[in-house]
């Protein structure tokens, strides 16, 4: 019997998900022994035409990382969806939109403007910006159009499973590949990680007070955090209580607060407002002005609570009435 065929593909992402696969180290040889990787641009030379030539459903699984923000990416993931029995959204960007999703509080024109017109190091003043179509002496060059809104993978194609994390932890990748090979998968739509909060696996759990009463929120550069004690109890915005476990609390081991890359547990729809609820509930005051003053110490609510999940939020992107009926 031939080995199951597997594809890896990337959209709007950083390449960290690829690195995470390489970080399987010697286990990658086991994977290669068990499956045929037929498409993986970062490491293998197969091209799109090779995928197009495959029969529909002939891939056992396609692991797709990255958010979706161009028609080119949309076409590629639709192609892979046709060819693959299972699609796994791999990593925070495919799962929830990821850090590139922070662009969803702006419009495409703002991004272009900042990068090509307002940049401190673009001073030659010819006002050029990238265009979908450019006539050059030898012919026509085209660029894919970027969407106004960054999307999660399951906002454009059907997704069977999710591997969370930025990037997904190696043990979860191994576990996911194992359960696919053994055909021991949970119900479709599942996130392939434990369904409990990060605090559950945090080494500092014992130091977390039963009831917290926060008078002050601190930013990481403002204190020398005690390396043994619960970071939330020290006033840092650690999102452990609302984030899914599975990473071994890696950032907390690095003595920095959890920023929520694993996303929520299955009980939560909108990670950002849930995280916001958890943090606001800690405030130890009943006076409206004092409450506001304490919460004002949280410098950037959207960037803090939706760091990895703005496109997956209930609002998807910021709202601008004048653009509301406009382009995607």
């Amino acid at each position: 019997m031939s080995k199951p065929k597997v594809a890896f593909y990337w959209c709007a992402s950083c390449g960290g998900c690829e690195e995470a696969v390489v970080d399987l180290a010697e286990d990658i040889l086991k994977v290669v022994g068990a499956v045929d990787i037929v498409f993986w641009p970062v490491a293998l030379d197969f091209k799109r035409e090779d995928v197009e030539a495959m029969a529909d459903n002939s891939l056992a699984v396609a692991f797709i990382n990255g958010a979706i923000r161009s028609s080119e990416q949309h076409e590629m993931v639709e192609l892979l969806r046709r060819k693959a029995g299972l699609v796994v959204a791999f990593g925070s960007c495919a799962h929830l939109g990821g850090i590139p999703g922070l662009a969803n509080t702006f419009r495409r024109a703002d991004l272009i403007d900042e990068a090509y017109h307002k940049s401190l190091s673009v001073t030659d003043g010819n006002g050029t910006e990238p265009l979908e179509k450019t006539e050059v002496p030898e012919g026509t060059l085209t660029l894919p159009k970027l969407w106004d809104t960054v999307k999660t993978l399951d906002q454009v194609i059907k997704v069977d499973y999710y591997l969370p994390g930025c990037p997904p932890p190696v043990n979860l990748i191994n576990g996911a590949i194992g359960s696919i090979l053994k055909n021991e998968l949970p119900p479709p739509g599942s996130v392939l990680a434990p369904d409990m909060a990060l605090c559950e696996e945090c080494e500092r759990r014992a130091t977390k007070p039963d009831k917290m009463a926060q008078r002050e929120f601190l930013r990481p550069h403002q204190i020398k955090a005690d390396p043994e004690k619960c970071l939330l109890a020290q006033g840092l915005l650690c999102l452990g209580p609302v984030t899914r476990k599975g990473c071994g609390a890696a950032c907390v081991k690095g003595n920095m607060p959890c920023t929520g890359c694993m996303g929520p547990t299955s009980h939560v729809v909108d990670f950002g407002t849930k995280a916001l609820t958890a943090m606001a509930s800690l405030v130890d005051s009943n006076d409206d002005r004092e409450i506001a003053a304490i919460l004002d110490q949280i410098a950037d609510p959207v960037g803090t609570f939706y760091r990895y999940s703005l496109p997956a939020s209930l609002l998807h992107r910021s709202y601008q009435p004048e653009h509301a009926k406009g382009e995607k």
Partner: protein, 167 residues
């Protein structure tokens, strides 16, 4: 939501109101028995306490077609559960900052303390938010590509903090 786009009639805001069982809902009841008239744009959802109001509910209402959301709870110090409305206040304070940054105008989402006896305040507040939202116009959120989020929302809403993460 298609009626928003195609309807030629003047815009009539749709407002979802989450009223606490003990104060604001009772006040709304009182306004009814007293035959006070107020704008018919509000759909009231009774919750046991404003402290039960998960901010996800507010966004869900907006996502599902509401143009505005009104939250009514007991006055500070009067909570049937001692502290629930303070919890609501803390969350609402931070949520407002987040919504502002997300471009949702302040007037679309409002919190009011309304005691059981304040039927007239229910009338006044509902009329006011209806006019506020009417002035702002309909809310056109980025459409849902696949209906994942909204589908997942309705059944099985579980308590505020995920298991293992009790605060």
């Amino acid at each position: 939501m298609s009626d928003k786009d195609t309807n030629q009639k003047p815009f009539e805001p749709r407002i979802v109101a989450f009223f606490c069982n003990w104060c604001t809902y009772t006040a709304a009841d009182l306004a009814g028995t007293a035959r006070m008239t107020y704008a018919p744009n509000v759909r009231v959802i009774r919750v046991m306490c404003s402290g039960r109001l998960d901010p996800q509910f507010i966004l869900t209402a907006l996502r599902q077609g509401a143009d505005g959301v009104l939250i009514g709870g007991c006055h500070p110090g009067d909570c049937h559960y001692q502290e629930g409305n303070y919890k609501a206040l803390r969350r609402f304070t931070l949520l407002k900052r987040l919504l502002r940054e997300m471009g949702i105008e302040d007037e679309r989402v409002q919190l009011e303390w309304i005691a059981a006896s304040e039927g007239d305040k229910v009338q006044k507040v509902i009329n006011r938010i209806t006019e506020d939202v009417r002035r702002l116009g309909p809310l056109h959120l980025e459409p849902e590509a696949l209906d994942r989020a909204t589908e997942a929302l309705l059944p099985d809403q579980t308590p505020a903090v995920a298991e293992g993460g009790a605060l």
